[in-house]
Symmetry: C2
Subunit: 171 residues, 2 copies
DNA sequence: GCGCCCTGTTTGACATGTCAAGCAGACTGT
DNA sequence: ACAGTCTGCTTGACATGTCAAACAGGGCGC
């Protein structure tokens, strides 16, 4: 028999789903209006700007932000046309492509970050007290510990059969 | 000056972001593997199946799940081709279109729901204790109370200027 | 040094989402 | 009753994401 969610569980789950939907919508809107960037753009720019030299291997970047390499390749091309990043053929390995922030990309992410933080505060962080934040970190920690086990860092490529992949953790 | 996030705030925010990314990925994968449905399909089917008569006005449905009417119209067409739903011209108002679950759609969502709940338990609910769930509900409540005020139910259509729309709530 | 098979990336075809325009039924005032 | 406008939905063009195939360099065994 299916074990359905209790009221409390349902409230928490639906709360999460709705939070996710509305918060993301709002953050996305702010980002577009404030800085002319999509969420995708922001993820790429902020991640690359954290890397030494404002440059990062395409594959690593994709893994870091959990995108398919293909998606990233396409998106980098589009961001390239807008002048935010460049591709740079790495010397040591002829296959590799490196994504590099342009000056404009760097200026853009710096300006965007300020406004983005404000947006995150306005719609999320500043609404919560320290206990809420701590609870959230705890929750994220528990769930992520599980998920990173279910889907190990590079599992996307392995053709692991479903029955294997989905087995609940030994606990 | 920009007020950056403190370590605790950052941990909570990044935790949320990462949770959102990985959890959604996993749930989406399970849903596709278990039932051959996308998240989008599931949202539509489960929402319509909750409505009386398994039928719902297109516009209402769109508002409920926070989609653009256009997106829903396209998606309903595609689901129609797969035999999950039908369009039904409502009698009382010649403009309206009503989305109706087919028998197959109903059977599909019933089967999918069981497996989906299991997936949600496995990767989320069962990992958390009652205190976590309560905390999450609290957090969602606070943030949603704010967001639903910032973006009132039907605000999507109003061409409200940004400066107006983004004003932080009076508090 | 040459087949062979990896591995990292690109590409193209197709699925999905967005935006603005189009369209037809319903109100409203005269 | 009918012109003008509004409302609910559809459509088409385009942007973005996905999947599988193609491509090219690297590393290995011989």
């Amino acid at each position: 028999m299916t074990r359905w969610l209790t009221d409390d569980e349902m409230r928490a789950w639906l709360g999460y789903r709705r939070l996710r939907t509305l918060l993301d919508l709002q953050i996305t809107r702010d980002l577009a209006a404030d800085s002319g960037l999509s969420d995708a753009d922001y993820d790429v720019l902020s991640t690359v700007s954290d890397a030494p030299g404002h440059r990062m291997r395409l594959g690593e970047l994709a893994a870091e932000i959990k995108w398919s390499v293909s998606r990233l390749s396409h998106h980098v091309s589009r961001m390239g046309q807008r002048g935010l990043v460049t591709r740079d053929d790495c010397a040591s390995d002829g296959r590799s492509a490196t994504v590099v922030l342009t000056d404009e990309g760097w200026a853009t992410i710096q300006a965007a970050a300020k406004l983005h933080v404000a947006s995150v505060r306005r719609h999320f962080v500043d609404l919560l007290d320290p206990a809420d934040l701590a609870a959230l970190s705890t929750i994220a920690g528990k769930v992520l510990a599980h998920l990173e086990q279910v889907t190990p860092p590079d599992a996307a490529r392995r053709a692991t059969p479903r029955t294997e992949r989905d087995k609940p953790p030994a606990t």
